[in-house]
């Protein structure tokens, strides 16, 4: 292998050496040619570079200007876009407002229609008239209606009498809140009877007012029934009778009533007692004093024998013992007065007890009544004021009954106690007076 490479290399080397030696001058010339060519090329390239640079700068400048111009255009366009969108927003808002107003106007028209309907005024709801026209129509109709309702006007009509009979006649309407009715049978203020009908109110003295109103010459003061509407019937106010009031009181009311009657009976008995005890005090004393003064003390006892009652008994016992020791006589008198005082004071304490108990019973009745009322309210709620006020009114009745029973019993009972005390005092006085007189004339 090595011998082969050496065999090749050697001829090539020899050739190369030959070439180099033979072509040296030719090579230099080629080189110079090449150099000149390259130099020319270089200058040409530099020149080209120069022109390109200038061109490029020129292009850059141009582009920059172009970009700036474009930017300003963009700015302007975006500004335009913004104002446009604002305009759009405003417009859509205005549109919504318009739509709202349209609905509102429709509502107003509806409301006007509904409000006017109960007064018998119909409003067209076709699509031919505009809302504005509808509103104008409603306004004019309302004004007319208002004028009508706020005036006094006479109409033909019919109404019910208190006994339920329906009569025809003239109805004077005072605005929309009151009315008078005049018929051949009766005249007077009218009250609602339900469902738009009228009935004659049972107040006294309104028939003259009705006629005066019909003649449009109202009096200075008028009897009038003012109502809110005619749909709801108004009840006549009934005067409560005594029995009804008693029934409001319930069981406790009857107990109080019984207590009161019992107390009255006791008072009556007590008055009879006291009258018996007191009527003849002065007569007896007179007779006895005369007899004793004239020294006939034994006849004195006989003279008053016919007299009955507490005083007579006390003085009789005093006369019977009058000869005894003074101490003894006084003891006898005192004992007799004590004995009689049970009779004189009889029922007195009990009447006062009843007088004290009756208001307490009344209070009890009121409290139980209130409890019942509130129980009812717990069940049915506070929606109906009648429940509450009616219950309280019924509950208060027992307090009233208690006081009505207590006041006379207390007054008369106390006065009778005073009377009883007076009788006892005068018995003591008279007995002692007689004893004193006797001692005087005995001496």
């Amino acid at each position: 292998m090595k011998a082969m490479i050496m065999k090749l290399f050697l001829p090539i080397f020899t050739l190369f050496a030959l070439l180099t030696v033979t072509n040296a001058s030719e090579l230099d010339r080629a080189y110079q040619k090449e150099y000149a060519f390259l130099k020319a090329q270089k200058t040409e390239l530099a020149k080209r570079l120069e022109t390109d640079k200038v061109q490029q700068e020129k292009d850059l400048q141009l582009s920059k200007e172009k970009v700036e111009a474009l930017q300003s255009t963009l700015l302007e366009v975006s500004k335009n876009a913004k104002t446009s969108s604002e305009k759009l927003e405003k417009l859509s808002k205005a549109l919504a407002d318009k739509e709202d107003n349209g609905g509102l106007v429709g509502n107003v028209v509806n409301q006007a229609r509904l409000t006017l309907e109960p007064y018998g005024v119909k409003m067209g709801d076709d699509n031919k008239t505009t809302d504005v026209q509808k509103i104008q129509q409603a306004l004019s109709v309302s004004t007319k209606l208002y004028g009508e309702l706020s005036s006094i006007r006479n109409e033909k009509g019919e109404f019910y009498l208190p006994d339920g009979k329906k009569v025809e006649g003239d109805i004077v309407k005072v605005g929309n809140v009151a009315a008078y009715g005049i018929s051949k049978d009766a005249a007077g203020a009218l009250a609602p009877a339900g469902n738009g009908a009228y009935k004659l109110w049972n107040a006294v003295g309104s028939s003259d007012d009705a006629k005066a109103m019909y003649a449009k010459k109202p009096n200075d003061t008028v009897n009038i029934f003012v109502y809110e509407n005619l749909d709801k019937e108004v009840d006549y106010v009934k005067e409560k009778t005594f029995v009804e009031t008693m029934e409001d009181g319930g069981i406790i009311g009857y107990i109080i009533f019984a207590l009161g009657l019992f107390g009255l009976v006791l008072l009556g008995l007590r008055v009879i007692n006291l009258m018996k005890a007191s009527t003849n005090v002065n007569d007896i004393t007179q007779i006895v004093v005369e007899k004793v003064e004239s020294g006939k003390k034994h006849e004195a006892l006989d003279a008053i024998k016919g007299f009955e009652g507490s005083t007579a008994r006390v003085i009789k016992s005093a006369l019977r013992n009058i000869d005894k020791d003074r101490e003894h006589v006084e003891d006898v008198i005192m004992e007799n007065i004590l004995n009689e005082s049970t009779q004189i004071d009889r029922f007195g304490g009990f009447v006062l007890v009843i007088a004290a108990v009756a208001p307490l019973m009344g209070l009890l009745g009121t409290v139980t009544g209130m409890i019942e009322t509130f129980d009812v309210i717990t069940e049915f709620g506070t929606g109906d004021p009648k429940l509450l006020s009616g219950g309280i009114s019924a509950a208060l009745v027992t307090t009233m009954q208690g006081l009505i029973v207590a006041i006379p019993l207390l007054l008369i009972g106390n006065l009778l106690s005073g009377w009883a005390q007076g009788i006892k005092d005068s018995m003591e006085q008279n007995a002692l007076h007689i004893v004193n007189l006797y001692e005087k004339y005995r001496g």
């Binding site: 309280i392 307090t399 009233m400 006081l403 006041i407 106690s417």
Partner: protein
């Protein structure tokens, strides 16, 4: 200035505003002040100074003494009774006691009546209040706002007026009655003192 007729008219109007109970209270008030006046004049002392000096005066001056009040009469009666008792040899103290008994009952005249009315007047006022309340609640029950007449406001004013008048009647009666009761108690003590002084004087 109101003329008397106008005044009476207004008074009647006010009384009627409270209903029947007002007139009851008015009559009670009349009796109360009659009792108070009576008691006042009965209990007017007339003489100042204590009982001891009064007795001395009567003993020394005798018939010449001017009578000024209840105490004077009581002393005179007591002295007479003492003389009488001495003359017949009876117990002086008992005799004087017997003579003075009417005075004891005199100083207590109308006492119970005044006390009763003082207790009664507020009760009557309360009755009026309750009646007015019943009326008000009835009116409320019947027809809340269309109640014809003045039932609601009338009931309330009735309720208020009567309680007011009841207290107006009772309070002066209570105060003056109390003062007069004290006066009466003092008289009773003084009567006892008269009895004691005269009966012990004779024992000396």
């Amino acid at each position: 200035m109101l003329s008397p007729f106008e005044f009476v008219g207004r008074f009647v109007e006010l009384m009627n505003a409270g209903g029947m109970v007002m007139w009851v209270l008015f009559v009670l008030n009349f009796f109360l002040w009659y009792g108070l006046g009576y008691r006042y004049f009965i209990l007017k002392r007339g003489t100042k100074g204590n009982v001891r000096r009064l007795i001395n005066k009567h003993e020394t001056r005798g018939e010449d003494q001017v009578m000024r009040g209840m105490l004077d009469y009581a002393v005179v009666d007591a002295l007479e009774a003492a003389q009488e008792a001495k003359a017949i040899g009876a117990n002086v103290r008992k005799h004087i006691n017997g003579v003075l008994l009417p005075y004891y009952s005199d100083v207590n005249t109308y006492r119970i009546m005044i006390k009763t009315i003082v207790v009664l007047a507020p009760l009557v006022g309360l009755l009026g209040t309750v009646v007015g309340m019943i009326e008000t609640f009835d009116a409320l029950q019947n027809s809340s706002m269309f109640s014809q007449g003045a039932s609601i406001s009338g009931g309330i004013s009735k309720a208020l007026f009567t309680t007011e008048l009841g207290l107006v009647v009772a309070v002066p009666g209570l105060i003056i009655g109390r003062v007069l009761d004290r006066q009466a108690e003092r008289y009773e003590l003084e009567f006892e003192q008269i009895t004691d002084i005269i009966s012990t004087k004779d024992a000396e």
